[in-house]
């Protein structure tokens, strides 16, 4: 019995310690400059590897999600005789929720895990230590550009996800279900607010971007330098960041809607 209490306490202390380490890592690597700091080109390279390379999955997923939303929405709304609200429903769902959340989840699975594995492997093969011994701070050289690339890429990906989704919805609603396209678009334009919906969705996506990338680089940097350790860290990245996205989503929505 006492053992369980002790184990529980140990796990608690360890998780707080780990949060502390993650906080220090973020604090030390969020700013540019320092010994052997990364340059602008490194940022470009990282945006390419986390952002551009996630593009195909985001676009395909966004299109299908938009189509499904339109199909489901049509069948629900037609019962209330308000099919004209379909455009509004699809666009608000995407902009406020599914765009940021699904883009961030896909990003965590596609780019977050890759980031963790990459950094973990660099650590295991002593590339980070070697860098340090060459007078180059790996936090500034390796972590900083990756962190920023993630923070920049996720909002863009979320925006593209929503855009493609709305057009996917239009494709189903107008071309397949025969809805009048004016109804789809003009009702949407009447209801959707740029600041309340588009901008707030982007704020969500930016927060998710910071958190997912942060978790990913931290897990990589903190991984045990063995193949087992890296595998575990990669899984952790996906699990923790998915939960973080969903939890934060609720908090952010509550704050933004001011309902709770």
């Amino acid at each position: 019995m006492l053992k369980y209490v002790r184990d529980l306490g140990k796990t608690g202390v360890e998780s707080i310690q780990s949060i502390g380490r993650a906080g220090m890592l973020f604090g030390q690597s969020v700013t540019w400059g320092g010994p052997g700091s990364a340059g602008f080109l490194d940022l470009i390279k990282q945006i390419h590897s986390v952002g551009v390379r996630s593009l195909s999955i985001i676009i395909v997923a966004g299109f299908f999600v938009g189509m499904v939303l339109a199909l489901q929405g049509y069948n629900i709304l037609i019962k209330f005789g308000s099919v004209s609200a379909l455009g509004t429903m699809v666009s608000l769902t995407l902009l406020r929720e599914l765009g940021p959340v699904l883009a961030a989840l896909l990003f965590a699975g596609r780019a977050g895990s890759a980031l963790t594995a990459e950094i973990g492997l660099m650590k295991a093969t002593e590339q980070l230590s070697a860098m340090e011994m060459m007078g180059v701070d790996p936090l500034k050289r390796v972590i900083t550009p990756r962190l920023w690339a993630g923070m920049i890429s996720v909002p863009i990906l979320a925006l593209l996800f929503s855009t493609v989704g709305i057009w996917g919805g239009a494709f189903v609603a107008v071309d397949m279900l025969g809805l009048y396209d004016g109804a789809y678009w003009s009702n949407m334009a009447n209801t959707v607010e740029f600041y309340d919906d588009v901008v707030q969705g982007l704020i969500k996506a930016a927060v998710f971007g910071v958190v997912v990338t942060w978790i990913a680089v931290y897990q990589g940097y903190d991984a045990a330098p063995t193949s087992e350790g890296i595998g575990k860290a990669t899984t952790q990245t996906v699990v923790i960041s998915s939960l973080a996205i969903l939890g934060l989503d609720f908090i952010l929505t509550a704050v933004m809607l001011g309902g709770v």
Binding site: I47, L55, I156, L159, L160, M188
Partner: protein, 153 residues
């Protein structure tokens, strides 16, 4: 050479993001380019708003021409004062235009519907809409209906 391709792709990625944002602004949220300064404000007094809120739409013949910008209480008249911003392009509202609070569908959102009168003078910034009709409150309608039923017996 390889770096150049990467720069190109990242540039394309950024441009796609910007295009998406512009599409969102113009096509999806119907944000018009001439947002600020291109409107004028008119006011109306209502006995009951019945759930009308800030940013509700103001429409004429079913077309949105403006938005509610401010709602306050006139303590002298014990009535609600609604300020609405009307698009400059719709500057030819006769001064005897009437405003009523309507509902989109049975349970939809409240909006203000304007219907034009016959005067030849047009409303300008700060003018009051004289003829207003308050929101129909469902409970009142039902109770009135029940009373009339009872009297009829």
């Amino acid at each position: 050479m390889r770096m150049r391709n990467i720069e190109l792709m990242v540039g394309g990625f950024m441009v796609m993001g910007i295009i998406a944002l512009v599409l969102m602004a113009l096509r999806v949220s119907g944000l018009s380019m001439d947002a600020a300064g291109e409107t004028y404000t008119i006011k109306a007094r209502f006995e009951n708003l019945g759930g009308l809120t800030d940013r509700a739409k103001v429409s004429l013949a079913g077309v949105t021409i403006g938005r509610v910008t401010n709602i306050s209480l006139d303590e002298e008249w014990y009535a609600a004062v609604v300020e609405m911003e009307i698009d400059k392009s719709m500057s030819t509202l006769p001064i005897d235009t009437s405003a009523s609070i309507l509902t989109a569908g049975l349970l939809g959102e409240k909006y203000i519907g304007l219907s034009v009168g016959a005067e030849i003078d047009y409303m300008t910034d700060g003018d009051w809409v004289q003829d207003t009709q308050s929101a129909i409150v469902l409970e009142e309608l039902i109770s009135r209906f029940l009373f009339s039923q009872a009297e009829g017996e």
